[in-house]
């Protein structure tokens, strides 16, 4: 870094933090609105610091709306998708990195291609398939549909993580008499664990936030996840209760905040190498 004078340093900080504040303002406003009594919502001028703090909307959300059911559905959905995709993807990525067989490169290219496919193209045949096999309106149909984007994504991330593991360790284990699978379990998986965890967390976020498949494939209150569920709360309400919707938004974002805490150092360091460029 080129040493900068004091005025430059101050200016730089002011400009950067002003922009950071502007970018995060909508998120701050979401939190502020969610803890503000309705009467205070429509005061002119609006104030950033709430005069009265209330958690009534969180209570209402939990006891008087189907929100808890949506939340549980989303947890089940995102966890199942992540578990499925990470197990299958870890095996697949290991295969793509360490073994050679005909068609391997074509397959790797195909995985990348599928990662770019628009969901709206697949949604029509997937909808027909789900109706035909009787899975429409179930969480299982969404887990299946989510693998269309989550599996290529996880494979591609895991592949780049695994490519970074030195082959020597595995070779040493093999010479020591370990089987190929034994070396995979004892050497490769522990080495790749940070990559596997990051991939799992990213996959969880993707599944947690998905909207289109949930909109088309599930049309029953019982299996609705958060995205379509909360949107439904907006559409079906007589008068829009913004405090309630903002409380729902905050609750819906909480798991992301937790995950984000884990991922942040990783994101600002090496995402360029792993997630962007395969």
């Amino acid at each position: 870094m080129i040493a900068a004078g004091r005025p430059t340093f101050v200016l730089l900080n002011v400009v950067t933090w002003a922009l950071v504040f502007a970018i995060s303002f909508p998120l701050i406003w979401m939190v502020v609105t969610s803890i503000r009594p309705e009467a205070d919502l429509f005061t002119i001028p609006p104030s950033l610091i709430p005069r009265h703090v209330t958690f009534e909307y969180y209570a209402k959300l939990l006891w008087e709306t189907p929100f808890p059911s949506y939340f549980l559905n989303s947890i089940i959905l995102a966890t199942s998708t992540t578990a499925l995709v990470v197990v299958v993807g870890t095996l697949g990525a290991y295969s793509l990195v360490r073994f050679s067989y005909p068609g391997r490169e074509t397959l790797a290219g195909l995985v990348l291609f599928t990662y770019l496919l628009p969901s709206v193209v697949l949604i029509i045949p997937l909808y027909l398939m789900m109706v035909r096999i009787g899975l429409a309106n179930t969480l299982s149909s969404l887990v299946i549909a989510y693998t269309t984007f989550a599996l290529p994504y996880a494979l591609w991330l895991l592949r780049s993580f695994m490519a970074g593991i030195p082959e020597d360790l595995e070779a040493a284990a093999l010479i020591d008499g370990a089987s190929r699978i034994g070396a995979f379990v004892d050497v490769v998986v522990p080495q790749a664990l940070p990559g596997i965890i990051s991939t799992a967390l990213f996959t969880f976020i993707l599944a947690w936030n998905e909207y289109l498949y949930a909109l088309v494939l599930v049309n029953s209150e019982r299996s609705r996840p958060l995205t379509t569920g909360v949107m439904n709360m907006l559409i079906t309400s007589f008068n829009i209760e913004w405090s309630l919707l903002m409380a729902a938004s905050v609750m819906m974002s909480l798991p992301l905040v937790v995950i984000f805490g884990f991922l942040q150092s990783y994101l600002t360091r090496g995402f360029g190498a792993g997630g962007v460029k395969g």
């Binding site: 730089l12 950067t16 998120l27 429509f42 628009p118 088309v216 909360v230 919707l245 942040q264 360029g272």
Partner: protein
């Protein structure tokens, strides 16, 4: 035969390993085949039928759907809207994303907190993003109109989403807010690997801040920016959630992009076959970018 087993004495082990490799990739191949390859081919097949969604009864119509589509104003209109949206939001994302990455690469106070806050819009659900922005844009009590009125910029609350060109501008703006952090992440990671000596040498050669940016930083960022632009072009082009939830394609189809028209045909107008034709046409429109990206991404890392 391609190069599976090189003709060495260890050939039998290599073959066995190849078999294990195939075994490990088998679940992936089966799943991708069932949920992507088959549906993709099925979508192309469906586009040759006229199908009424509720009953799923279909008649073979050959290429008639495509003929209708090419002759229709709505397809070309939606393609135009998609291009305006993609180019518009992408430009803002790139310019603002690079600028923000440069700032966050400087030695500022609480730098990692600032980086974390900036990345957050990208990870928050589109549903949440749309709810927040709809509240901010609220015509009576929205804070944005209030701030603009009290700053004297406008005298009346702005109709952010109800008329043109406001709706498209709002869409581009919210899209940029939601997706620019991706540019920041990628560019920031690359900035940290630019050797310090390059800047020192440029400074010795008498380059100012701008000179250093154009002569050192920008050339170093070229590869990552190419990748980012390609990826974001593809992703913005196919974006459904944000547009559907924020404007629903309105006012009067002025922000109706191709993904929205596919959805509308299939589940609004109940024309599955026609929808499939739209979807395939949309993919053809994207194919060029996808192929260039595949080519770029599979080059050895620079």
């Amino acid at each position: 035969m391609s190069a599976i087993a090189s003709p060495r004495p260890r050939a039998s082990i290599e073959t066995r390993n190849a078999r294990l490799g195939v075994l490990l990739i088998a679940p992936t191949v089966l799943i991708l085949g069932a949920v992507i390859v088959y549906p993709l081919l099925y979508a192309i097949y469906l586009s040759l039928f006229s199908i009424y969604t509720p009953t799923l009864k279909g008649n073979w119509v050959g290429l008639a759907n495509y003929a209708t589509l090419i002759g229709s104003r709505s397809f070309w209109g939606a393609l135009g809207v998609t291009i305006v949206w993609t180019v518009g939001t992408l430009t803002v994302q790139i310019l603002f994303g690079v600028a923000m990455a440069l700032l966050l690469n400087q030695n500022i106070l609480f730098r990692s907190l600032a980086r974390g806050l900036v990345l957050f819009p990208y990870f928050v659900s589109t549903v949440v993003a749309v709810l927040i922005w709809r509240w901010l844009f609220n015509d009576l009590y929205g804070i944005l109109s209030y701030l603009l009125i009290s700053a004297g910029v406008v005298s009346m609350p702005i109709d952010w989403l109800g008329k043109m060109p406001n709706a498209m501008e709002t869409l581009i703006f919210v899209g940029a807010w939601k997706f620019f952090p991706f540019v920041v992440i990628a560019v920031l990671a690359r900035l940290q690997t630019i050797p310090e000596q390059l800047y020192e040498a440029a400074t010795i050669d008498g380059a100012g801040a701008f000179g250093r940016f154009f002569d050192v930083t920008l050339p170093q960022l070229k590869d990552i920016l190419t990748i980012v632009i390609l990826l974001r072009t593809i992703w913005d082009f196919k974006e459904f959630d944000l547009i559907y939830l924020l404007t629903g394609g309105g006012p009067v189809n002025n922000t109706r992009t191709l993904p929205l028209i596919v959805y509308q045909q299939a589940f609004g107008l109940n024309q599955m076959g026609m929808a499939a034709a739209y979807a395939v046409a949309m993919m053809v429109a994207m194919l060029g970018f996808m192929l260039v990206y595949l080519h770029q991404a599979r080059r050895p890392a620079v």
